[in-house]
């Protein structure tokens, strides 16, 4: 029974990710990964990809494009989301981040996937100058069961992935976006 459930779990997860992956654009940015390999298939190594649901990307260069101490800037294409245009929320695909985790062999008891995102800059309202202050603003994001993470203007709709066999993920909380340093863990 355990084996069967594990197989079903893996199947459902794979189907969800396959559906999402159709929307993906490989952005080429390399994530740091550490921990155990969670794949049983050497042909399908564990990996992660982020993309905008709209498919939009934008060039980013580290070190503001400069060579620093002999280290050249890195250039990458990263997902490009637009939250508001002329003060109004954009169409959902423009502000939806799609996260694809692949090559996962879900253990029999299920797996909790947690996404935490942080702004690269600290909160200028708290630190004033925006220069050299710690990055404190974290925003947990809504994680739809389909793996799409969507921001809503002003409201942080925290929808978690609670992924285990036989249980569909559902929204379980809505609240204000926190800039207090809390990170939201999906469960």
């Amino acid at each position: 029974m355990g084996k069967l459930r594990s197989a079903i779990t893996r199947f459902i997860f794979a189907v969800l990710l396959l559906g999402i992956s159709l929307l993906l654009v490989d952005c080429g940015a390399e994530a740091i990964a550490y921990g155990m390999v969670l794949t049983e298939d050497p042909e399908a190594p564990t990996g992660i990809t982020l993309s905008a649901a709209s498919g939009a990307t934008i060039e980013f260069r580290t070190q503001n494009g400069e060579t620093v101490d002999g280290v050249p800037a890195e250039t990458m294409q990263i997902p490009h989301l637009v939250l508001h245009r002329n003060g109004a929320l954009t169409a959902a695909p423009e502000r939806t981040l799609v996260v694809k985790v692949s090559g996962i062999a879900v253990p029999p008891g299920g797996v909790t996937v947690t996404l935490a995102v942080e702004t690269q800059h600290g909160d200028p309202d708290r630190w004033g100058t925006g220069v050299s202050h710690p990055r404190v603003a974290r925003c947990a994001v809504d994680c739809g069961f389909d793996g799409k993470y969507r921001w809503h203007g002003g409201i942080h709709a925290r929808v978690s992935i609670g992924y285990d066999a036989g249980r569909k993920c559902a929204p379980h909380a809505h609240g204000l976006l926190s800039l207090s340093g809390d990170s939201h863990r999906c469960r």
Binding site: T46, F60, G65, I78, L83, H84, G110, T114, H121, C139
Partner: protein
């Protein structure tokens, strides 16, 4: 309610098996994605040489996790994050759209179909503005000040320049960078090249000088505001003019001079020639390549008078040659010292030189001499370093205090260079009354000295006029382009009685 932040984002994804505490797998990445806000404004229909040549939209890209702030003296004024969207959409965007209309239609710069932004994709043919922190790549490199893409620093002042508000600072930069687009528009049309500064950036005298001017014309109140601090223009103008013992850049070779401080010459032309027509003529002449190919030549000095002669001939100025404009410019700078020498309205006729309602300009440093009744000789041995006028188009100012011995004498002023040397000088003299020990009151207008058959510039002031004058201001301008042949520019000034 706190607004959702817009920024570059780091993410971390963890996968934790049921019952585990420690994640089995963690993914994380810095600058993994960008989420921003945008404001899109439809631009006015403006002059264009072909249908559709002008950009139709202005797009502002911004994110709110950087500081939108302005420093004035010791105070820092910062918008809260919640204020940023309304500020960008309600204040900045309308002013930027209006500036586009004014630069295009009021200043008279029609758009050509060859214009393109430096940006790619959807931005290629539209005007776009990014607001950044000066440190983080955002749509392109984030410059310390501005960039002609148009990329503006919302977080920091531009060096030591000071503006009364964030809007004034950003609009000043925007006017400047927008004008680079106007320049590129002309360059692409006439020569197919959008490199407005030319080979080795040698032609920044035109590109940056006129872009700084654009800020003063578009944002006059911001650039010339009263109160503490100096705007970017005033800061640079005073670097050029000098004052308080500092000689500024009046005798700096143009190839070695920074690109921004000569903007004061362009401001002078704008004021004296009644608007931007003279600038349009100059840029069109330069970028047409009919006088000089700026993509292959770096010789600004040799070509400056050729370009400007043609530009001034096509404009409505009180002078028709570069040489004449240079002399008028030198006189206007000296006028900053004299009573009534600062205009109280734009284009005011009479003795005044620059429109300067809040006294933001310094007066140039003057070399002081005294005539005591015996012949006075002022040559390279007496002149401060560097003696003479070593650079083409350089300017020296000398004041000669006339003591009572001069009252009953006719005085002859004789100025000459080294025979056979390449340097050529023009000289103007202003007779002044010193009122209350401080105020300099001019007696009439300047006298322009004319060369005799030996090339010496000689003028005799009759005794009757010297009874009124207490001081002579001598304005010496080097007007040749031969600074490499004559890098000293030696001259001698003599004063003697008849």
């Amino acid at each position: 309610m706190l607004p959702t932040p817009t920024d570059y984002f780091h993410y971390q994804v963890t996968l934790t098996a049921a019952g585990d505490v420690v994640p089995r797998l963690v993914f994380e990445q810095e600058y993994a994605f960008l989420m921003e806000d945008q404001v899109v404004v439809t631009l006015s229909q403006v002059q264009e040489m072909t249908n559709g040549a002008a950009p139709d939209e202005l797009v502002l890209y911004y994110y709110d996790m950087i500081s939108y702030q302005n420093r004035v003296a010791e105070a820092v004024h910062q918008l809260s994050r919640a204020e940023v969207p309304a500020y960008v959409q309600g204040q900045l965007a309308p002013r930027m759209a209006e500036a586009f209309r004014v630069q295009s239609d009021v200043w008279g710069f029609p758009w050509y179909e060859e214009w393109t932004s430096y940006r790619g994709g959807v931005d290629t043919e539209r005007l776009s503005v990014t607001l950044h922190d000066g440190k983080t790549w955002y749509h392109s490199a984030a410059p310390a000040g501005g960039d002609s893409r148009i990329s503006l620093n919302a977080s920091d002042n531009i060096g030591s320049a000071s503006y009364a508000s964030l809007t004034e600072r950003l609009m000043s930069s925007y006017q400047h960078e927008l004008f680079h687009n106007i320049q590129r528009n002309i360059g692409l049309h006439y020569s197919g090249n959008g490199d407005v500064s030319g080979k080795d950036l040698a032609w920044q005298f035109f590109a940056e000088g006129t872009a700084v001017l654009a800020s003063t014309v578009g944002e006059f109140d911001a650039e010339f505001a009263g109160g503490p601090g100096e705007s970017y223009y005033v800061l640079n103008a005073n670097k050029f003019i000098g004052g308080d013992g500092f000689y500024g850049k009046l005798n700096k070779r143009y190839p070695e001079m920074d690109a921004y401080s000569p903007a004061v010459y362009w401001r002078f032309l704008y004021e004296r020639c009644g608007g931007m027509q003279v600038v349009r003529e100059a840029l069109t002449t330069l970028y047409s390549g009919e006088v000089v190919d700026i993509q292959t030549s770096t010789d600004v000095v040799a070509n400056l008078s050729l370009v400007m002669d043609r530009a001034l001939a096509g404009a409505s100025c009180p002078f028709t040659t570069y040489r004449e404009s240079l002399n008028a410019f030198a006189r206007a700078l000296y006028a900053l010292h004299v009573e009534g020498g600062r205009c109280v309205s734009l284009g005011q006729p009479g003795l005044c030189g620059f429109y300067d309602p809040n006294h933001k300009y310094n007066g140039p440093t003057i070399n002081q001499l005294t005539y005591t009744g015996t012949p006075l000789i002022y040559n390279v041995a007496e002149q401060p370093y560097p003696a003479g006028i070593p650079s083409s188009f350089g300017i020296d100012y000398v004041e000669i205090e006339l003591n009572q011995a001069a009252d009953a004498q006719a005085l002859t002023l004789d100025i000459y260079g080294i025979p056979g040397a390449a340097a050529v000088f023009d000289v103007q003299v202003w007779q002044l009354v010193v009122d209350g020990g401080e105020r300099l009151l001019p007696i009439g207008d300047t006298v322009t000295l004319t060369a005799n058959s030996d090339g010496r510039l000689i003028h005799t002031f009759p005794a009757s006029s010297n009874r009124a004058a207490q001081r002579l201001a001598v304005i010496i301008t080097r007007v040749d382009a031969q600074e490499t042949l004559d890098p000293v520019g030696a001259y001698t000034l003599e004063v003697c009685s008849e």
